[in-house]
Amino acid sequence: MSRILRVAVLPAAPVLLPAYAGSVDPVPELRAACRAAVRWLVEDPALPVLVLSAAPPPIDSAACPSRGARLASLLLGEGGHTGAWSEAGVRGPVRLPAGKDLAVLAFADGSARRGEKAPGYVDERAVGYDRAVGAALRTGDLAALRGLDLELGAELLAEGAPVLKALAGCVEQVENAEVGFDDDPFGVQYWVAQWRCVSAD
């Protein structure tokens, strides 16, 4: 039986990737929050990291690593993680590596339809949807995340919806939850959340 001991939830935002870096970082606070969360996630180097992401592959690309894998590679590297990590898809139930304690790095964000300048323009349901997801992340409310409406999530361009639902499906209990970043600087809802799920003792 695998046990998930720690979870970090970060945005799947391409703006974090070095391939898209300008000379000024447009998201310094978000980046700092992501780095802090990943440092915490990998405090125990013996804990393998499972990466969850729903990011689609680039157009025409079979070989390019997923955006989730690229973000994980960047942030785990910056966080000094030298141990193992692997990526799991979230289209079906997540298969956890058997018999291991794990840390999970989940790339999940909220709606991209939170304003006129947002990538997906305005959808009036976006704020309510994100408020509910944000509350579930802050309280570790697994039932709420397991019940996420994926169709609504897709309509709201909430790329993280299937990730959060899959994550909640494989975590047993959240002992402590914190959200260190909660903002929508470009009309896309970002959270950086940390969950301690099962006592490491």
């Binding site: 990011a55 592959p57 157009i59 025409d60 070989a63 955006r67 991209a112 323009y121 305005v122």
Partner: protein, 287 residues
């Protein structure tokens, strides 16, 4: 290749200015400056005086915003096309639409070009162009639907996608009966692209020119210029002209622009550097 744009024919070394005329209250650059029909008409007069060969009349802003249905789009565009056609018989009139129904009415009113910024989203548009003998601009959007912004789109090779999709669209148009001399391709900066994609497309524009299809570029004051230079709308002319010069050097034929005079100078300068255009008047060291 000789370019046939409706009732006008242009030789293969001609570069053309396509001036943007918005019949919209909410387009990003002019923010409704030509929403009133008479003001739009005055802009047509002005850009013609500045030397524009083409006007591109649009009734729907490209970005998301208030819904504009076919009826409303036609109301904004069709009578205006008719009025411009009457006043400026030599001018090439283009209509910026992705909808076949609107295109049909616009062509009946005298439009010469259908500028489909959304990459053939309406499959019947090619049939309208064929039926009316109109030219067609085939753009690349990476599959993004009309009036959406790119969100996290990535490509294995953006230029390969541009070349493949625009030439496929061009060939589909020719197969539908559009005169091959009346088909242009447009990589569509910012459409389905982040700033890095648009910069790469600019850098590699020669690959699209090499397909042999005449290339139209629409660079004017766009976000990729703004993001590259960190300039808001209204302060992007210099960057626009730099990108324009790069495209001109690569061999782009048609330039969809807000500022006609400045763009014409940038294009002519680049064309002369490329050896495709003689200087206007050269006496230095020659007297």
């Amino acid at each position: 290749m000789t370019l046939v744009l409706g009732h006008r024919t242009f030789p293969d070394d001609a570069t053309l200015m396509m001036a943007i005329v918005n019949r919209t209250p909410d387009s990003f650059y002019d923010r409704g400056a030509t929403w009133a029909e008479d003001l739009a008409f005055e802009r047509v007069d002005r850009v013609v005086a500045e030397g524009a060969e083409i006007v591109d009349v649009g009734g729907v802003k490209a970005a998301p915003g208030s819904a504009v249905d076919e009826t409303e789009e036609s109301r904004r565009v069709v009578a205006f096309v008719d009025r411009v056609r009457s006043r400026h018989p030599d001018l090439v009139v283009s209509v910026d639409t992705w909808r076949a129904a609107v295109a049909r009415e616009a062509c009946a009113a005298g439009a010469d070009v259908l500028n489909d910024a959304w990459g053939g989203h309406d499959p019947a548009l090619v049939d309208v162009a064929a039926r009316f003998g109109a030219a067609l601009v085939c753009t690349h959007t990476g599959g993004t639907p009309p009036r959406t912004r790119p969100h996290r789109i990535e490509y294995d090779d953006v230029m390969a996608s541009v070349v493949r999709d625009t030439t496929a669209y061009a060939e589909r148009a020719v197969a539908a009966g559009v005169d091959p001399r009346s088909v242009l391709v447009d990589p569509a900066h910012d459409f389905g692209k982040n700033t890095f994609h648009s910069l790469e497309v600019t850098r590699r524009l020669g690959e699209l020119v090499a397909t042999g299809w005449p290339v139209l570029v629409s660079l004017s004051n766009k976000d990729f210029v703004g993001e590259t230079l960190d300039r808001p709308v209204g302060e992007r002319l210099t960057g626009t002209l730099a990108a324009t010069a790069v495209c001109a050097l690569a061999g782009a034929r048609v330039y969809r622009v807000h500022e006609v005079t400045e763009t014409r100078q940038a294009v002519d300068m680049a064309a002369s550097i490329a050896g495709r255009r003689p200087p206007a008047r050269a006496v230095r060291g020659l007297a």
